[in-house]
């Protein structure tokens, strides 16, 4: 039973990342009709915002320690962070420790602006082109962004730890009446799950309970009619592209302590997230979230030794298997609108 609950927690945690990325993809597809293969790259950029903030907070001046030697036998150059120098050691160390959560403050405006610029500068030229053209250009963009990040940060994963207050595990088992330490789950992963729930709820609330959101939803349903009412729907859709980029960026920042950022991290998630979107139903926001969590949990269960003993290698194909079954039996996806992807 404890192994079962652990895998549910794992699935929710994996599913959080899938759902957040799929949510952004669906927002873009639902509003602009663009299949954005660069969305994984936006997630990756978010993760590297966390890396950049961490590096900025660790930006140092050099002091020579004559008592120690470097690898060439020269006096050791010791790095002293400017933050410690400017604000005192306690504040400086606190900021470095909390660099990941603090990165959220930077990532929202940065990613929103980047999304806005991308949409206006590149994506809008492909609205009336076939989906294949959109995929090619956005996929090419993702490769360019990945290589640029590699040129600056190298190819190796970069450690981006969470605040020390969130290191270690939470004894979930005790809360559920199990023996102590039977089900211990990493604290930061629980934080990530809670964070994703808040973000998803906020996006839904924004679309549901604001006038802006209502207009966007109307535009998603019937763009032309909304335009005929004198509403500049294009501007609102550009805003939604920025919002989707910001959601991907936030997802990336908070995921950085779970999976050390590297230049290809976006590609790792992209394909899976597209499967999530298709399974959930192209253009359906609730579908993307539902499918994200569902596939995350299924993938976790498929990784269990007991399951793999019966179906070897099932962990690597389960998501695609489910996608095939759903597309065969319900081509519009779990919550897709009737007619979409069915012709």
């Amino acid at each position: 039973m404890d192994a079962f609950i652990l895998q549910i927690l794992n699935g929710l945690d994996k599913g959080s990342a899938y759902a957040l990325i799929a949510l952004g993809l669906t927002l873009i597809f639902g509003t602009l009709g663009v299949v954005n293969f660069a969305h994984g790259a936006l997630f990756m950029i978010g993760a590297f915002v966390a890396v950049t903030v961490q590096k900025l907070f660790q930006f140092s001046y050099i002091e020579i320690d004559e008592t120690k030697k470097d690898f060439l036998g020269n006096p050791l150059k010791v790095e002293m962070p400017y933050l410690d120098h400017w604000f005192g050691t306690s504040v400086g160390e606190w900021m470095q420790d909390w660099s990941v959560p603090l990165s959220i403050l930077a990532v929202i405006p940065f990613m929103f602006a980047l999304g806005y610029i991308l949409e206006r500068g590149l994506i809008k030229h492909f609205y009336k082109r076939p989906h294949a053209d959109q995929i090619l250009v956005t996929f090419g963009l993702a490769i360019v962004i990945g290589e640029l990040v590699k040129a600056f940060y190298g190819a190796n994963p970069i450690q981006t730890p969470p605040p020390s207050a969130f290191l270690g595990t939470i004894d979930v088992g005790v809360m559920l009446g199990f023996d102590p330490n039977a089900i211990a789950y990493p604290t930061w992963r629980m934080v990530y799950f809670a964070f994703s729930v808040v973000i998803i709820a906020s996006v839904f609330a924004f679309l549901r309970f604001t006038t802006f959101g209502m207009v966007v939803r109307a535009g998603m349903a019937d763009r032309e009619t909304v335009g005929l009412l004198g509403i500049d729907i294009d501007k609102r859709f550009t805003f939604m592209f920025g919002l989707a980029a910001a959601v991907a960026g936030m997802a990336g920042v908070m995921y950085a302590p779970i999976l050390s950022p590297h230049y290809n991290i976006g590609m790792d998630f992209l394909v899976l997230s597209f499967v999530v979107v298709v399974v959930g139903g192209m253009g359906s926001l609730p579908g993307a979230v539902l499918a994200g969590f569902m596939l995350g949990i299924l993938q976790s269960f498929a990784s269990m030794n007991e399951v793999k003993a019966v179906f070897p290698g099932i962990d690597q194909i389960i998501i695609y298997l489910v996608a095939i079954i759903i597309l065969l039996t319900r081509p519009r996806g779990l919550m897709g609108r009737k007619g979409v992807m069915e012709e």
């Binding site: 652990l6 690898f71 190819a155 190796n156 994963p157 450690q159």
Partner: protein
Amino acid sequence: MSKSNFTRRGVMKTGAVTSAGLMLPTYLRAENHTGFTNAPQGDTVKFGFNVPQTGPYAEEGLDELRAQELAVEHLNGIGDGGMLNTFSSKVLDGTGVLGKKVEFVTGDTQTKSDVARASAQSMIQKDGCIMITGGSSSGVAIAVQGLCQEAGVIFMAGLTHSNDTTGKDRKRNGFRHFFNAYMSAAALTPVLEKVYGTDRRAYHLTADYTWGWSQQESMAASTEAMGWETVQNVLTPVGAGDFSSYIAPVLNSGADILVLNHYGGDMVNSLTQAIQFGLKDKQVNGKNFEIVVPLYSELMAAGAGTNIQGVYGSMNWNWQLQDEGTAAFTKSFGEKYGFPPSGAAHSCYVQTLLYADAVTRAGSFNPCAVVEALEDFDFDGMGNGPTSYRGADHQCFKDVLVMKGAEAPTSVYDTLEIVEVTPRAQVEYDPEHPMFAGGTLGDCNPGA
């Protein structure tokens, strides 16, 4: 009524492709004026440095490339000479190889076997390379070694740690300086016995490809022989990223040791996530839970940060060794690039010099003469103490390093500390040991 699918254009296309396919082996084996593939003409000779410049092992590949470029400089008499000053063989004098200036071309393997083969093939056919070296994966090394054997050029393997490279997939034209999975296990196990005892239960997470299988088999055999029990071995996909669903079952498996048969980014992620799951803080069977990483590299250690503290593993070479060869190479490399070389860089540097030395001693670039010069060649001064290239399987034998994640590193370059230098005799094995059996070197192929 039947309709023929043949068209004039189709027949011509098919014919051309078939002819090209049939001619390829002939081309690869074509006897030129000197009787072997790509005999150097004029006053230059060309080496092919086939390393991952993109993909998951790009950092390692780029470090290999730096070392290979440094080796070429030293062979051509540029710089301080590095290990040429400490190498026991004294035939290389900084005037190139057999009087020919060394040039090189580079290729990107992307750590994909098919891409690496295509890159090596281009180097041989288009660029006229006489020798191929480099690489950061056993799958790639085995694929490229096979190609070099067919093409009649020498392959001096880079970072490849699977037993198969000089085991069931050994080839006469291929040579490996790097140690292997068996040697890692043989060096590591006595140290693990000393620090963790003989009554342990180990859970293995293993990268699902030739190196991972080889490493797991070696570690399991070695640790079981000293009394450990292998609770479970779980194969994980390469590049899985999030290993949490593989780590979670470890918690309640009854194991008190986790052996991570992972390398590169996978190792950084699996180790980090194992620490996040609190494995190192756990007590199981009345003992502290421990993690072991059989194969280390400096670049991985830097990526894993503080998570690596106190974790044992093994290495082929490390810049912190105190011998003259290591000091000379570290100085040359450090002054040129500003940081110490990795183990992969060291192996590629040494391989390049060893090839040049063998050519010079043989007095010929003919691959078969080079093979003869390298087989059972004993040397010293290259950073690993007295070393031999065993003729029976083309595996280098030398001391192996047991490493531990440093508790208080002074920089990202000394995150690992040397715990023990395991003597070569302790890691030697019979060429037909079951883990290496099933392969034959075959005949040398000069390409003629």
